[in-house]
Symmetry: C2
Subunit: 455 residues, 2 copies
């Protein structure tokens, strides 16, 4: 479908126009105006709506033709039926983000509208993101077309992950959760029905995008399978690419079709393509969240050997199971390391892998276990901290951070629990940059992502 | 191992003794004293420690022999080496809870101590819970031997679930999480090394315990496989039994051995035994948490047909995948229902299963979708609520509760997101008793539990 012209202007627009701009609070287009102000878009914003001479003190143009400037990105927040009216006559627009729903996903009438949109792409060379999407949230170019009130869905700070998604609701969920956990993003594109621009072209842009260190994909289907594998293969040589394919099963496939009109195809083909391209596949939403959290902090590791340190035996058994389920190796300590641990730690310590410090643990025991354990060859360490034992204190947070800095191995904290635990988790994450996972499975999934996915 | 005498006195003690009682805040035995006061134990509590004449104004006995009363439950919070000294001479004790670690799990010396404990069980007829355990947390008899400060791990209100667990750290985690989510329990037993009383006898007690409507098991190994299956089979005829078997894989098996000294055996045998007994098996900690949450509110259902209603397409596709992965059936709506839905809802609604109300959703749309959808035969409904769409309001919480009351089908809310979402979740849960799950996978796991587990 693509006309092949460069789409990088979507990620660095100088001029944008909000078509269908409204002064009514709560309306999509008004939310977009507010979002653009909040995020601090630094280019020129034109408002377009024949009904109003001005909105919030800014001039409002009656049509695109009235604007004597070239528009990099026109954001169309209009009923589906009006979209063609706007786009057909324009001469000064490079690209459009069409957030409106009511196209292919609603059946025949919408499908005809969408065919007409495709014609516009081909005949006029206007590049289109959408329709039926949230558009772009970009902390680099400072653009935000996500038409959801910030009171409902918090926005993200700048980070190193970029996300490409067909689904707007997926973007909404992950944005809200990541924001509430203090994780940042570089750029997010929700492209919905993908009448033109899709994941392959966006991914192609991200390959050389310095602001993007990690790419996360949510896919119902693929726009151009062969090209996607080619682009993704280039990308994974430079930065990790994580993908969630949904619509794997019969019901999911049906749901995907009525959602973005996507034909999701046989899952096995995707699986093979991901593998070929070096993409790390995750199983579901939970895995994707874990991947975002761990890759927000750590780079991939070379192997799959995991060291588990714990103050609770039961949770460590569950963790060992979860790690092995995902193909990680919970290999034993060397005899020398076990001896050193036995010499330095109390007699009740289990000096295997997991190293079980038991509920008689102290802060310093964790440090000893880490320092000695890391003399053996491990790629990732999972440190389970149950805050019940009264001898461990808030100082543990600093101590683990210090060890992390010396040894330069990814340390994942696993800390299931309630209020006290969550408060400590904030210390770990916000003050020390150590990611905390709240279930054994979640920490294991994150470790598996660092090791390159299921093996 | 069991001497076969009744153990129900552990769940209804009239007299207890805290042996090793200490006036020092933070010490295990002192935490237990405080916990017993907080939970409001209504029987008589004796303190025993030769070092003190009194503790916190209560008389302290120099030995068990000094107490001229029969003791139902002696709680031993002593170093492992002192445990035998205390138990050998006693004549007035029915049962003991030994929280001390330092037995079989630490190797040969501990194993000898444990053998000596077993002799006491046989020779003196004293029933023992532990060692190396948290003991009992019981909202019915109002007993709490969990020696973890309440500031670190919140305690649970009364509820209908009882939990049996080898692992104390597992008990700690699940208690803290359930408490923070407002879920209650009837009784929890953490039996650790299980020198005497284990899951089979506890389960046998719970079969006819009116306070217990649901049993949840965390198992590293089983005490008496044949008897366990027999007892569990009787129990599942009266109430749901959910089990998590850990130590499934090699690393987990090793970890379990150094943890409670358990030989966890081949996982496949457990799997088959669970199935035979009608036990609902869950895969990990996440599944067990989901089971507790959903069974806190709902009873099991007869079938496995799930209706999904959503305001976000992507999350519904993920949900449909997750449900089918677990053997649930996301069966389509009947033609008549689709017609009624199309007549009553806007044109952009996808009237399949999932019913996708899209981001243009209103509160009333959810009600219509539920009322019409439930005319078809479904066993469970998962209602996905993404709070982004500005037309849905807090009133949705009341409306869904009303529908729930009329139709008497379990409604599971799935609501991933951040701060606003979590606040709404509290409304759903605390005010309306509708359980909320924060990932698609979590809601699917809960639905699968209601439908009787993996099929």
């Amino acid at each position: 479908m693509s006309t092949g012209t460069d789409i990088s202007f979507f990620f660095n627009p100088k001029t944008i126009a909000v078509v269908g701009a409204s002064p009514t609070p709560g309306k999509s287009s008004h939310i977009i105006l507010e979002s653009l102000k909040r995020i601090g878009f630094r280019g020129t914003t034109y408002l377009v709506n024949p009904k109003y001479p001005s909105i919030d003190g800014c001039k409002c143009y009656s049509s695109m033709a009235e604007i004597k400037d070239n528009i990099d990105v026109a954001i169309l927040a209009l009923p589906a039926s009006k979209v063609l009216e706007v786009l057909k006559p324009v001469e000064n627009v490079k690209g459009a983000i069409i957030i409106s729903a009511g196209f292919k996903e609603v059946g025949d009438s919408g499908r005809r509208l969408e065919e007409a949109l495709k014609e516009i792409v081909v005949r006029k060379g206007i590049r289109i993101i959408g329709p039926n999407c949230l558009g772009i949230y970009d902390t680099v170019s400072r653009m935000d077309t996500f038409f959801i009130p910030v009171e409902r869905v918090k926005r993200l700070k700048r980070g190193r992950i970029s996300i490409l998604t067909q689904s707007g609701s997926f973007a909404e969920m992950i944005v809200d959760e990541m924001a509430s956990e203090g994780i940042g993003v570089a750029r997010i594109v929700s492209y919905g029905n993908r009448v033109d621009v899709g994941e392959t072209e966006c991914l192609n842009f991200l390959v050389d995008d310095d602001a993007t260190k990690v790419v996360v994909l949510y896919m119902e289907s693929v726009d151009d399978g062969r090209r996607f594998v080619e682009v993704a293969s280039r990308c994974t040589k430079k930065k990790p690419v994580v993908a969630l394919k949904v619509g794997k099963r019969e019901a999911g496939v049906h749901a995907a079709r009525s959602h973005t009109g996507a034909i999701s195809g046989r899952y096995e083909i995707y699986k093979a393509a991901f593998k070929k391209a070096g993409i790390i596949e995750v199983d579901g939403y939970e895995g994707l969240k874990d991947a975002c959290k761990v890759l927000n902090t750590y780079d991939l590791v070379a192997g799959k050997k995991v060291l588990i340190i714990t103050d609770g035996g039961g949770v460590a058994v569950t963790m060992a199971d979860a790690c092995e389920d995902l193909g990680l190796e919970v290999t034993g300590l060397t005899e020398e390391t076990r001896k050193r641990l036995s010499a330095k730690l109390p007699g009740y310590t289990a000096t295997g892998n997991p190293i079980d410090l038991t509920s008689s643990v102290t802060d310093e025991d964790y440090v000893i276990a880490l320092e000695e354990g890391l003399r053996d060859e491990y790629d990732v360490v999972i440190v389970i901290v149950l805050w019940g034992p009264s001898e461990i204190t808030e100082r543990l947070v600093d101590k683990l951070k210090e060890v992390r800095e010396i040894y330069n191995k990814p340390i994942l904290i696993c800390s299931p629990g309630g209020k006290f635990t969550r408060r400590m988790a904030k210390h770990f994450e916000e003050k020390k940059g150590l990611p905390v996972f709240f279930t054994p499975e979640s920490a294991a999934r994150a470790a598996a992502v660092l090791a390159g996915g299921k093996m």
